[in-house]
Subunit: 299 residues, 4 copies
């Protein structure tokens, strides 16, 4: 098939390689010309504007956005909207909030453009070699773009999930689960680390990756990480987050779901951003007040 | 190799099949004669007492216990101890507390018997077809029994973890991680279930099992469970636990490790055992006291 | 002083009594005429419309709203806005979201009306006999209405907190703390309840209310609740919530504050609304899948 | 009454003052002679050995131990045991584990000595001026020592809780609640601290201490702490713990009580002891592995 791809960051660049290796004719655009030029060597058609991208394709077009969620997605849509024709398909493959995707789909539907919210999982390697895709949008139109997913996903690795919003909703919850699983694995290794035993974490991650109940890709990645840095001495335990975990907790609260694991995984990430905490100071001060327990003074 | 196997429950029976299919000559014992007789058809040598089991084997013997942790393990060891000879190997493949295993190893060491604490993971299917083994005990003696693990484990699926206790310690922490991962997955599906979307959970578990970041055996098992009962209508959300999760949290506290995910996973299991809670009554009563908020009365 | 009071529910009715007993001339309005008529006997001036309420007062007026947060507050303001004059003071004494209060203050400021967001604590008895007030709005104008708070609050029981929003922000966080304190107390009593000892909870709450570190009003209320129903047999542990706890957690997440106690207190309230949970079903199903652990079937 | 007091640390010294001011004839002993000498000025009878202490008193004696839980209590009892006579009363007013107290009571009972486990709350000021006491032991013998509690406690501030163990059990749970309440209050102030508002925490603690739902001694202590150091700049948020919170969580798990607030309060204390965490490193490493998310490197 022929399609356009907007956004050639870590994920978009790899998706482009994935598409090109499957023989899809791919026009690519990024604000930075460099990745497009590199992809040209692999058969991509780099263009230097969204207008040019649209012109490269014949209606009904298929355009895949792989740009940062939030304002960037919004800006790209605003610029694309007047250029698109009824029947065109516009795909948001990033991590947009599902409610925003629902609103965008509704808005584009008025101009006859079919919007798809597609959650993309599998990391950068999955994007390049075969990932997992959760797809929300029109069931009927989906059949038109299904061949793309057949090529980009690992076998059984895509799902038409339902109407608009369902794709990004699934991806959001997937990320919430991911937060919980990562924190569970990480707590386990911390218990090993504080124990009196002298475990080789790479070996532990390997045995847990082979035949055990907790085997899975995250454990394999742990093995890989420990192979590079046996005790992770080179990195600090600062756990950034990019929004989907928070959205999952907010959504859980809106739905009155008790989701303590996902919530605590997020809160421990926030905790990790602090060197010291105000709540800690308050508790220490209170203990001093009632029991005369000594406090650790700051220099 | 030739060895004895004590305990032919779900795990032991499957391990016996695993050993027999690899050509190991296996004398088997269980208080119930039925499973031993069934295994006889597959080449096992069923015996009707621990004494007979020991007599079946020549010193230095290898005996694998696969019996319930706690008093049963203790009783079997007490009965075996006078029957064993210096140089014999006794393996506890169950879920004993690592501190108990350390004490038992020390005690048996005085009689020259080599004790191994082996954490066995992979569930019943893993026991039968290839599991994951975490092994604590003498490194030197381990080499003598290593061929067993090469046959019983999946490739890369066994680890000599260190001195006595380390095998069961690893298995304990593995189970703690398992609690957290299961609860994370389960919370995710509950959010799906309470949402306005109409997801097919089997399909969701399938797409998450193929190419996604959260792929792994537990997600595959979720797919399998939903394939049998699409909304799990047939089962209640009562989450039993068998000890290792609790031990992991206790150990974390002893080591002053903050392990909120594993702890909350355990506490939610306890919560699930209750139809109603006393803490809920207290909070409801307090809200009524200060704000006149109505309570739900019990019939 | 002379003022108008809108909303004569549990809190508003008691505030009216409080104001009247301090000699404030109070015009009162509620959609239901009954509470106003009852208050007339205590000196209130009941009116039957917001228009009449405004007419009862001379500019610059002081009007206190004590109506449900959300649409009701919004509707009352919409109806009042054209009736008010520059210099009038409008107070929202309810549990509005602080961001809504900030927006309303800005909007009313354009017409010269001074808005105050006032968090009111102390429960229904506090409203009647002396509560605690957290006040956000113009510092200068505050001095004009301060005598009201001097009369309605217990000594030291009011605070000019800062610009608009700060009053309701403080009240929101106060309620988050309240959730945590209540859940902490409630968990303590559940541990007593499951123990082998046979405690008299009323007596326990009494000794903890007198001289202990955890003494405070909530513990006194626990004593009062147990005095009425020694084991709380008559009520179910369903813990409703009315929004401020959720807002506190949402705000904590927006500010990247790790607030596990407040978050878990909220999530346990949601948990208490369920007889059974989908996450429990998933965990039970997974245990059955990998280990053959039996599930509890639903009838 | 006449009694002996062993242990003149922060709590014991203050209790001695309390007893002396009520006119009780008090023989006092501590390994350090200094506090006893200071108390002599207030009427105490300082002695320089446990033997001398016992000799100062006539059978049936009353002896109150106020020494560190664990080995010190054990050692004192071992030394006292041969010196005591049947009918003597020995009180442990410290924070011993209730199971240890039950075992000690049983052991002393064999020699006819009546043991009481007494939980003492109210902090150092409470010890001096009137605290809260939870008393486990023989109901009949309790009546003999009740006058002491009538004098040392605030009104209604003591409770005969039941047989041995119940006093220290109640105190343990009290401390668990205390952990949760302190953490709840502390999280609230952290949310204030990260907000855009500019609150005066001393004033906030004051208004919350007067008339609000969350009023209580801990909030008053917060006011006092902020009065000394407005933003707690001088202290670090390191939250030590001395055992009772951990015991409460362990007990909750033994009783299968879901006590997330008390558990999380404890785990956050452990978290505060770390500058960096291994679980944080693992999560950061995993994010880097699958998504190429950058990590913060350690110097």
């Amino acid at each position: 098939m022929k399609l356009g791809l907007i956004g050639l960051g870590k994920m978009g660049f790899n998706l482009a390689q994935n598409l090109l290796s499957s023989g899809h004719e791919t026009a690519v655009y990024d604000v930075d010309p460099a990745p497009g030029e590199r992809l040209a060597g692999k058969g991509a058609i780099p263009v230097r504007s969204l207008q040019k991208l649209v012109e490269q394709l014949e209606a009904p077009r298929i355009i895949w956005m792989m740009v940062p969620a939030g304002t960037v997605v919004g800006n790209v849509i605003s610029e694309l909207k007047p250029l698109l024709s009824p029947g065109d398909v516009l795909i948001d493959g990033g991590n947009s909030h599902y409610k925003e995707s629902m609103a965008r789909a509704k808005q584009l539907d008025e101009t006859g453009v079919h919007y798809f919210d597609v959650g993309t999982s599998g990391g950068t390697s999955g994007a390049a070699e075969g990932g997992s895709f959760m797809i929300g949008g029109s069931k009927e139109v989906f059949e038109r773009i299904e061949p793309l997913f057949q090529d980009m996903a690992v076998p059984k690795g895509y799902l038409y999930a339902g109407p608009n919003g369902s794709g990004h909703f699934l991806k959001m919850v997937h990320n919430g689960i991911e937060y919980g699983m990562m924190q569970a694995i990480a707590e386990g290794f911390e218990i090993l680390d504080k124990s009196d035993f002298d475990f080789n974490y790479e070996e532990v991650a390997r045995v847990w990756s082979n035949g055990s109940v907790v085997r899975g890709w995250l454990m394999e990645l742990a093995e890989s990480a420990f192979a590079k840095d046996a005790k992770l001495d080179g990195i600090k335990g600062v756990m950034q987050s990019s929004g989907e975990g928070k959205w999952t907790v907010e959504t859980a609260m809106d739905l009155q779901v008790s989701a303590p694991i996902i919530a605590m995984s997020l809160l421990m990430r926030y905790r990790s951003l602090e060197e010291d905490t105000f709540h800690g100071k308050v508790v220490a001060a209170l203990r001093n007040e009632f029991g005369g327990h000594s406090v650790v003074t700051s220099e």
